[in-house]
Amino acid sequence: MASPCDGTLSPTEFKFAAEALMKKWEECKSILHPWIWIPCPKLPFGAPDKAGGYLSLEHIHHFEFKKQQDCIEQKYSEEEVEALDSATLVLSGENETHYYNFHIIYSTSYKVPVLFFRGYHQGGQPLKCDEVEKDLPLYTSKLLEESKWTFITQEEHPYLNCPWFTLHPCGTSEWMRLLLQQRLYSSRPEDLCSHYLVAWFSVVGQVIGLWAPLNLVHCSSSSSSSDTFCSHT
C-alpha cells in the first residue's frame, strides 16, 4: 500500500487481500456459500491484468413476499401441448425469489476494490434498477440519498461485457483510510493488507444488505443467524 496508508491497494495487494477474505469467510463458517476467485481471461487489448482475477459470490437468494405474476402472452390450451400427468407436482402462486450475483473487482483507476452486483428474477430476467432498490434494506435508500460516499450507478462489467450495478468507488479510498487508521500503527503492512477487504466488506456489505458473518471482523466463533439477505427490517 502506498505508505502511509492512503486507503488504496496495489493489484497484487488486492489478490492477497482477496485470498485473506476467502479464508476468513470459510473459517467463520458463513452460511452463505464461499467466495470463489475467478481468474481473469486475458483482456483483448493484451495489457496484463495484474490483479489476475476477481471474487465472485453467486446465486444469493432474496425472497420476495409477493406472488409471482403470470405474464403470459398467448394462452395455450393444455391439451395442445401435453396431457395432464398425475405424477407432476404443480405449484402455483409461489413467492418469487430474486437471485443476486456479487463480484468484487479491482479498479485500476481508483486503486480500490469495487462491488459489482446484478439481480435476476427466477428464470433469468435481469432486475431493473428500481426493483433492485426495493430489495435493499430500508436504511440504504436513505443512505444513498444523503451520503456523499455511497452512490449506486451502472457500469460496464470489465470482463462480462454487460452493464452491472456498482457502488461508485470514488469515495472508497477516503473512508477506507479512516477505517484503517486505528490499525495503521499497530499492524504490520501484511496484516493491514490482509485485513483490507474484510474491513471494506463490513461497510459495503451492509449497504447492499449482504450481511457479513458477525464474526468476520472480530474473529470470534459465533455463527451468523440469517442465511439470505433480507429486505424487510
Binding site: D70, G93, G123, P126
Partner: protein, 695 residues
C-alpha cells in the same frame, strides 16, 4: 405413510443467464443465419443446497459452442465442476415468432424422449448417465428488440401405471447413526473426486454399516453382492415431500434395465457443499413394469414442458437495457449527469433540463458548438434552423460536419446537423428546418412576399413551441426579427455574436408589458440605483441605428466573416452555461443581471452569478461581465415596436424589412439623432467664445 400414493415429482426449473442469449445472438448473426438445424447445448445443475429454494438447470454462455464448427469436433460434453453437472440438450431456434409458436411441441418432446429411451435400452445410460436428464429448448430471438422467447421441456418417460411411493422420509431418519455418518463421508468423497459431474449413482450399504458409492455401470455386480442397494441422484428439489424431476427417468431406467419393481432411492441434497442428511430424502417407490415396455418397438409417452407460473406457456426475456446499444448510451449519459449532481451539484434539476426545448437559429460555428454542449447537459429536444449548405471549409470550424456532408454540392446544414447529433447521441430529438430568417434592409420583392410571410409564420411557430431560443446567426440584421418575436412571446432568448477576436454573449430581457419602464439611455458598466427593477436589454438596445443591410457593398475582406477559431467554442460554451444558470435561478429569465462584485443574495446560487452580458476579447485573454437595461427606443424590443407589431403583425414586419428607416422613425431614433446632430452644431458655433462665459 401407511398406504401408497402416487409419487409426485417436482418439475425442473430453468434459469438462463444473459451470457447465453448474447452468445446465441452472435451465433445467429455470424454463423447460423437463417439455419434452423437443431443445436447441441449443455445445461448445468447441481444438487439442492438451500432449504427453501430448489436449484435450477442453468444455461450459461458456455452452454453454447462458440462456433458451430467446434461442436462436432470437441468432446460431447462440456466439462462441468462439482456445482455444475453437465446435461446434454438440444436447442431448436426458429426465425420468426410465428414459426416458434407453430412448432409441434408434442412431436419435439417425443423425439427427445425417444433418444432417452434408446439410450436406456442400449446401455448408454450406464456409461454416461447424465443423458437421463436430456432436455430441449425451443427459442426465438428477436434481435431488433433484444427479446428472447423460449420454452424448456424436460422429457420424463411416463410410467403407466404411475409410480407409487410407499415411504418417504429424511435420510437421517432412514439410516441409523453409523450408516448416516458413513453415508455422509462417502458422499463428500464422491463429490470431491473427479467423477463428481455424475448425477446418478448407486449407494451400497454393507451389513457393518459401511456405505460406498458406485457408478451405475456396476449395478449388476452390486445386485449380485446382495447388500442393501439404494439408487441415488443429485436432487435439485428442496421440498420435504417430493423428489425432483431427474428421478422419473431414473425409475424408468431402473425398472426396465435392472428389472426392479420395488426401488429404494436417495434424493441427495446438500448444505454448504456437504451432504445434508436431514434435508436429503430416502424413499421407496413401487413401479410395475408394463407389458408394452417389453416390446422393443415401443416408446413411452413423455411429459415435461416447463410451466410459466402455473400455466403451460413459453417465457420471454427482455434484454434491451443490457444489450441494445442505444439504451446503453442513454443510460450512460443519464448516469453521468446524475453523478455530477451527486458529487458536485445536488441542486441540479435534471428533469427540467431534459424537458427544456431549445431552438437554435443558425447551424454554423456557433450553432454546432451550442448543440453539442446542450446534449452534454442532458437537453433532449434541439431544433436547428439554417438556410445554407455545408461547404468545404465548414467541417474545420463547424463541429457537427464532416467531409461527406460537403460532397455533391453540400447537404443542407440543418439536415446534416440533425444527422450528426443523432449519430453522437441516439436519444436526442433533433429536427432541422431550412429557410432564411427575414432581415431588415434586405427588401422583399413583390413575388417573394408570400414566401417571406410564410417564413415569418414558421419562425413565430417555432419560437412559440420552444422554451429557449439561441440567436447564432452571422449578421446583425438577422437577429432583429427573432428578438422581436421572442420579446413578444416572452421567451428566453440568448445571443452570441462574434467579431474577429471578440465576442458578446447575452441573455435578452423578459417580454414587454404595457407598464414597463425602460431606461432612457443604454449600456452602463456599473450598477445604478433601481437598476434591478428595469427590464434587461437585448442585443439591439445599445444601438442608435436600426439594423440594416450589412452584407452588400462591403470590401472583399469584410464580406467573409472571419473570426479566430477559438472564439466560437468559447462563446458557445458561455451561451449554454448561461442558459443553465437561468433555468436554475428561481426567477428564471426575470432574474436581474449580476456582476462579480454584486453582493446581492442571489449570487449565492450554486451555479454562481447570473450575468446579463459577457463580453470577451481574445487579444487580451480577458472577459467582462456587464449589465444593460432595455432602451426605450430599441428597434427590436421596446414597447413602441412590440405594440406596433402586436397591432399590425406581419404587415408591420414587411414594412420594417423593406424600410429600416421606418423603425428609426417609429422609435423616435430619427428624432433623437437629429437632436444630437443639432446639438453638435451649437457647440461648433460657440467654439470661439470665451471659455469663462460657457463655464
Amino acid at each position: 405413510m401407511a398406504e401408497s400414493t402416487v409419487l409426485q415429482f417436482s418439475p425442473f426449473q430453468s434459469h438462463v443467464e444473459e451470457g447465453f442469449w448474447k452468445r446465441l445472438s452472435s451465433l445467429k448473426l455470424n454463423t447460423l443465419g437463417l439455419d434452423e438445424t437443431p443445436v447441441k447445448i449443455t445445461g448445468f445443475y447441481g444438487p439442492c443446497s438451500h432449504a427453501q429454494v430448489s436449484s435450477h438447470l442453468y444455461l450459461l454462455d458456455e452452454s453454447l459452442p462458440a462456433n458451430l464448427a467446434e461442436e462436432s469436433s470437441s468432446s460431447e460434453m462440456v466439462l462441468g465442476n462439482r456445482n455444475r453437472c453437465p446435461i446434454p440438450g438440444t436447442l431448436y431456434n426458429t426465425n420468426t415468432l410465428e414459426s416458434f409458436r407453430g412448432l409441434d411441441k408434442q412431436s419435439l418432446i417425443r423425439k427427445e424422449a425417444k433418444k432417452i429411451w434408446e439410450e436406456i435400452c442400449s446401455g448408454r445410460v450406464e456409461a454416461a448417465c447424465a443423458v437421463l436428464s436430456r432436455f430441449l429448448v425451443i427459442s426465438y430471438a428477436d434481435l431488433k428488440k433484444w427479446t428472447f422467447h423460449y420454452w424448456f421441456a424436460f422429457p420424463a418417460l411416463v410410467l403407466n401405471p404411475s409410480a407409487l411411493v410407499s415411504k418417504l422420509q429424511p435420510a437421517s431418519e432412514w439410516f441409523n447413526l453409523e450408516e448416516g455418518k458413513s453415508l455422509s463421508e462417502a458422499c463428500n468423497e464422491w463429490r470431491k473426486s473427479s467423477l463428481t459431474a455424475v448425477p446418478f449413482f448407486l449407494v451400497i450399504i454393507t451389513a457393518d454399516s459401511h456405505v460406498t458409492l458406485r457408478p451405475l455401470k456396476d449395478w449388476e455386480t452390486c445386485q449380485r453382492d446382495g447388500h442393501k442397494l439404494l439408487f441415488g441422484f443429485y436432487d435439485p428439489c428442496h421440498l420435504p415431500s417430493n423428489p425432483g424431476w431427474p428421478l422419473r427417468n431414473f425409475l424408468a431406467f431402473i425398472c426396465s434395465r435392472c428389472k426392479i419393481e420395488k426401488i429404494q432411492f436417495l434424493c441427495y441434497r446438500e448444505r454448504h457443499g456437504l451432504a445434508d442428511l436431514t434435508h436429503s430424502l430416502v424413499g421407496e417407490a413401487l413401479v410395475s413394469i408394463s407389458q408394452e415396455w417389453k416390446n422393443p418397438q415401443f416408446i413411452p409417452e413423455a411429459v415435461g414442458w416447463e410451466r410459466n407460473g402455473s400455466k403451460l406457456a413459453p417465457r420471454r426475456i427482455d434484454l434491451a437495457t443490457s444489450m441494445d446499444p442505444i439504451r446503453l448510451a442513454m443510460s450512460a449519459a443519464d448516469l453521468n449527469l446524475k453523478l455530477m449532481r451527486w458529487r458536485a451539484l445536488p441542486s441540479l434539476n435534471l428533469d427540467k433540463l431534459s424537458a427544456t426545448k431549445c431552438l437554435l437559429l443558425g447551424a454554423g460555428t456557433l450553432g454546432c458548438q451550442v448543440a453539442r454542449m446542450l446534449m452534454a447537459w442532458g437537453i433532449k429536444k434541439i431544433t436547428l434552423v439554417d438556410n445554407g449548405r455545408v461547404s468545404m471549409s465548414n467541417p474545420l470550424r463547424q463541429s457537427l460536419y464532416t467531409l461527406e456532408d460537403c460532397l455533391n454540392g453540400g447537404d443542407w446544414k440543418a439536415d446534416a446537423a440533425v444527422r450528426s447529433l443523432k449519430s453522437i447521441f441516439p436519444g436526442v430529438e433533433a429536427e432541422g428546418f431550412t429557410f432564411a430568417i427575414p432581415m431588415p434592409g434586405h427588401p422583399v420583392q413583390a413575388k417573394e412576399t408570400a414566401g417571406v410571410l410564410e417564413d415569418c409564420r414558421r419562425l413565430q411557430n417555432l419560437i412559440s413551441s420552444h422554451d429557449v431560443i439561441f440567436l447564432l446567426t452571422d449578421t446583425r440584421e438577422s437577429r432583429w426579427l427573432p428578438t422581436l418575436l421572442c420579446t413578444n412571446a416572452n421567451k428566453l432568448a440568448i445571443t452570441a455574436a462574434l467579431g474577429f477576436d471578440s465576442y458578446v454573449v447575452m441573455r435578452h430581457g423578459a417580454g414587454v408589458s404595457a407598464d414597463d419602464k425602460d431606461a432612457s439611455f443604454s449600456v452602463c458598466s456599473s450598477g445604478i440605483e433601481g437598476h434591478e427593477s428595469r427590464r434587461l436589454g437585448c442585443y439591439f438596445c445599445n444601438d442608435v441605428v436600426a439594423p440594416n443591410d450589412s452584407t452588400s457593398n462591403r470590401t472583399l475582406d469584410q464580406q467573409c466573416t472571419v473570426t479566430r477559431p477559438g472564439l466560437a467554442p468559447i462563446a458557445s460554451a458561455l451561451a449554454v452555461e448561461l442558459m443553465i444558470g437561468i433555468l436554475h435561478h428561481p426567477e428564471g429569465m426575470n432574474a436581474p443581471g449580476e456582476m462579480a462584485s454584486s453582493i446581492s443574495e442571489s449570487s449565492s446560487q450554486p451555479l454562481g452569478i447570473l450575468p446579463h452580458q459577457i463580453r470577451g476579447s481574445l487579444s487580451q485573454f480577458s472577459q467582462m461581465v456587464l449589465v444593460g437595461s432595455s432602451f426605450n427606443r430599441c428597434t427590436a424590443c421596446s414597447n413602441l415596436v412590440v405594440s406596433e407589431y402586436r397591432r399590425r403583425e406581419l404587415e408591420f414586419v414587411i414594412q420594417a424589412l423593406n424600410h429600416p428607416n421606418y423603425l428609426e422613425d417609429l422609435t423616435g431614433l430619427t428624432e433623437l439623432m437629429d437632436k444630437a446632430r443639432s446639438f453638435n452644431l451649437d457647440w461648433e458655433e460657440d467654439d470661439e467664445t470665451d471659455i469663462e462665459t460657457v463655464l
